[in-house]
């Protein structure tokens, strides 16, 4: 590329490079998410124990060197079950976010950029989706689709369509009213070109930040569906189900509920922390 052409492209400047070091909490959050992701992709690297088959002899052992998280009622290593459960939870959350992001953003961008009757109709549909409390909407979708990890994930995704649609629409409207979009029309840009070049890039930052936030919330909701028994069937290791199964031993084996719950909370908290960093970066 010639030197003259190079000047047309945005360049990282000294000021951007000298930006403040990321906060410690953000570093920690990224680390937690990285570990969870590694668990999800390569669980066997992190544990040699079998997450499904247990030894009755070792049932209900408190945390120890051999079993850092202890064992459950059938003698399965709890840590192994948590590690192998990461895959189900994270992939489920990813599916949920994808469903909400794609469908919701499409609805919102369409409504916001066309306006008029289409906008009105799409937003009434969104109103209806919003009117049904999230969990009930998810349960209705599950009744329609049947139980299972993927269906639970889709159900959670459906509940977030309305939020994505509203945000995307309001962002598009805000950007459309901006002076620079008017200036782009003024310099001869066609509707689609201005939409593609100016409106979408400036609208979608906030939408992506919401997607990051929804990721944490999707993990929580999927685990709730798992806990209620509509997600993965036993003995699949799934975080919500894991906690549900150990409920009967709450009086005797504290680790069975406490430790998996802490893992879920840590992952969700980290996802939310990263989401707020994404929001700040795209604001």
């Amino acid at each position: 590329m010639s030197a003259t052409a190079a000047v047309l492209l945005p360049r990282r400047t000294e000021r951007a490079a000298a930006r403040r070091r990321p906060a410690l909490t953000l570093v920690l959050a990224v680390a937690v998410l990285a570990i969870a992701l590694a668990w999800a992709i390569l669980p066997w690297l992190f544990t040699s124990q079998d997450p499904v088959a247990g030894e009755a002899l070792h049932a209900l052992q408190a945390p120890s060197g051999a079993h850092p998280f202890g064992t459950d009622a059938t003698g399965r290593d709890l840590l192994a079950r948590v590690i192998f459960g990461a895959g189900n939870s994270l992939s489920g959350a990813a599916i949920a976010v994808l469903v909400g992001l794609v469908v919701g953003t499409a609805i919102g961008v369409l409504a916001g950029s066309t306006g008029g009757l289409a906008d009105e109709a799409l937003m009434r549909v969104v109103d209806v989706l919003l009117a049904i409390p999230g969990l009930l909407l998810a349960l209705s979708v599950i009744v329609l689709l049947g139980f299972g990890v993927t269906n639970a994930a889709i159900a959670v995704g459906v509940t977030s369509i309305a939020v994505f649609a509203r945000l995307a629409r309001s962002q598009v409207l805000k950007v459309r009213r901006s002076d620079y979009v008017e200036a782009a029309f003024g310099s001869g840009g066609s509707f689609l070109r201005v939409l593609w070049r100016h409106v979408l890039p400036n609208s979608l930052g906030a939408v992506l930040a919401l997607a990051a936030l929804q990721f944490g919330s999707a993990i929580l909701q999927i685990s709730t569906l798992g806990f209620l028994g509509y997600g993965a069937p036993p003995p699949t290791p799934e975080w919500g189900l894991l906690i549900a199964e150990s409920r009967d031993y709450v009086a005797t084996a504290w680790w069975l509920t406490t430790l998996p719950g802490l893992v879920v909370a840590a992952v969700v908290l980290s996802a939310n922390r990263v989401a707020s960093a994404v929001r700040e970066a795209t604001a």
Binding site: V7, L8, P10, R11, S178, Y180, G188
Partner: protein, 553 residues
């Protein structure tokens, strides 16, 4: 005469992004009882920071590093820089009061005007409920609000900007403070309202014997209203002294530059009249309404004007006068209800939104912070019209040609070529406005609509941009429609003027005709509103600055 306020070696720092940087570097000031001290400077000069430090309202992260702020009261001397928070709180609103900058956002929107004005009285336990109520009504009457009973029951959004500022002044003087800090008290108001608010402040100061610290960016306001003046730059004191002596004989080059750049004070002779045989831009019978049916509001009412090729026509008026609506109609951004607009042979209304229209006329809008896409580089922004309008001069498909054209356009507005790789947020306001002008000019339009294009800029930057616009007009033969509220700027740049009020043209003519012998009462009111004390104008007329000569040439 006794001294009320003595600021000694005051230094203030702010923490931003984890680093401390100094905003005020050791400033010394003195304010006498009953007098007005003007703090003058451009944005970032530290004038507001000093004002806020006196009243103990530094923004989060702000800290007084050293120095003292001495307040000499009847009861004894105090150092505000070292006073405990609670003691300072006792002084605020009682001995030191603030008249804020923007009356639009400075009143609690869910509180009645009466409650807002009563607040300082109630906070300082001035008297019984009934006594306070009566005092509030007296105050509202004193600041010139009609029907105080009704005003006291109204909410801020039901009042005009000028009325809100009156209410804020009423609250500020409620406890007859020794010191009133007026932080740009009129910069958010229309010009004719500005003068009346400043008059009111003057009257109240004289009546109460208070001192006023007037913080302003407007040298003309300072010249007209202050006893002494302090010129600040980058947190340092450039010059301080008695107002007349400082302005008549500035010791520092910076003060002289500020004076030369202040449009109200440059008494440049109007441009030589360039008589046009026939107008190039013609607007006739323009009507525009907002709303429908009985609620319809005529923003523009039968306005016509003509602009000769290569000249500048100014559209002057206060907010709501319809000037922006006309400019946007000319630039093809909306269709008026009636009327016709022609640019040369081109029928603008028939061509609405067409590429031919974009080639003929471009718009530069007021806010250079909003008019550039934050995600696109300056080069991409400036080059965009060439990509959108491929008919322009052989079409530009080749990146290299495009980059060269962009570099030329930037050079034209006196920006270095490497700016092309930057993002808008890395540029100053003046630089951004240059970019917006470069974007408008790159497809070589014949006509440019400049909508308050210099209003958001500091005076020195404003002056540079006006120079630039004049040079471009000479070099390229551009025709400008220059929309502004500032008659002082009009005097400097326009060949002809239309004065608008409530959507009607009250006066149209050459700048000379309209401004030198204002026929219409409203035009006279607008002219009077431009602060420009005679002593200063006379002195400057007899001794024009270099800058002034340049303008005449």
């Amino acid at each position: 005469m006794s001294t009320l306020l003595t600021i000694d070696d005051l230094a203030i720092s702010y923490r931003a992004r984890g680093e401390r940087h100094t905003a005020v570097h050791g400033v010394n000031l003195e304010l006498q009882r009953g007098e007005v001290l003007a703090l003058v400077g451009e944005s970032g000069s530290g004038k507001t920071t000093i004002g806020h430090s006196i009243i103990g309202l530094l923004a989060a992260g702000g800290r007084i590093e050293r120095g003292s702020i001495g307040l000499q009261l009847a009861g004894g001397d105090l150092d505000l820089a070292k006073l405990p928070a609670r003691a300072l709180q006792q002084l605020r609103g009682a001995r030191i009061a603030l008249v804020p900058q923007d009356p639009g956002t400075s009143l609690n929107p869910v509180q009645t005007i009466g409650a807002s004005v009563a607040a300082p009285l109630r906070i300082h336990r001035w008297g019984t409920k009934e006594a306070i109520r009566r005092r509030v009504l007296d105050l509202l009457e004193r600041v010139g609000l009609d029907d105080p009973e009704r005003r006291a029951r109204q909410y801020p959004h039901e009042l005009s900007g000028g009325m809100r500022q009156r209410a804020l002044i009423a609250a500020a003087v409620a406890l007859e403070p020794d010191l009133i800090i007026a932080d740009e008290p009129t910069s958010a108001l229309d010009v004719t309202v500005q003068r009346r608010i400043l008059d009111l402040l003057d009257d109240l100061r004289a009546e109460l014997g208070s001192s006023v610290l007037l913080i302003t960016h407007d040298l003309a306001v300072a010249a007209e209203r202050s006893d002494s003046i302090a010129v600040l730059r980058g947190g340092r004191l450039e010059e301080v002294g008695e107002t007349r002596s400082v302005l008549l004989d500035p010791q520092r080059e910076y003060t002289a530059t500020l004076l030369a750049d202040a449009p109200a004070l440059t008494d440049a002779a109007p441009r030589p009249e360039r008589l046009a045989v026939e107008p190039f831009v013609m607007v006739e019978g323009l009507v525009h309404e907002y709303g429908k049916g009985t609620d319809a509001f005529r923003a523009v009412d039968e306005v016509g004007l003509g602009i000769a090729r290569g000249t500048t026509h100014a559209l002057v008026g206060e907010s709501g006068s319809g000037k922006t609506t006309i400019g946007r109609a000319l630039a093809g951004f909306h269709t008026p209800a009636a009327g016709s607009i022609r640019i040369g042979e081109l029928d603008v209304l028939a061509e609405r939104g067409s590429r031919r229209l974009r080639h003929a006329v471009q718009l530069v809008s007021q806010n250079p912070y909003a008019s550039l896409d934050p995600r696109r580089s300056i080069g991409q922004t400036v080059g965009e019209p060439l990509l959108n309008l491929p008919l322009a001069h052989g079409g530009v498909r080749d990146r290299r040609v495009l980059a060269e054209r962009v570099a030329t356009a930037l050079e034209q507005v006196a920006l270095p070529a490497e700016v092309a790789g930057r993002l808008p947020r890395e540029l100053s306001g003046g630089q951004r406005q240059r970019v917006a002008i470069a974007r408008a000019l790159i497809i070589e339009p014949q006509t440019v609509v400049l909508d308050e294009a210099v209003s958001a800029l500091d005076v020195t930057v404003q002056s540079q941009i006006l120079d630039l616009l004049e040079r471009l007009q000479r070099d390229l033969g551009l025709t400008y429609l220059f929309i502004t509220h500032d008659l002082a700027v009009v005097r400097r740049i326009a060949d002809s003027v239309t004065v608008l009020r409530h959507g009607r043209a009250v006066k149209t003519g050459t700048t000379q005709q309209v401004l030198s012998s204002p026929q219409h009462e409203y035009t006279r009111a607008l002219l009077d509103a431009v602060p420009s004390p005679d002593w200063l104008r006379d002195a400057r007329r007899s001794r024009p600055t270099q800058h002034g000569q340049l303008e005449v040439a």
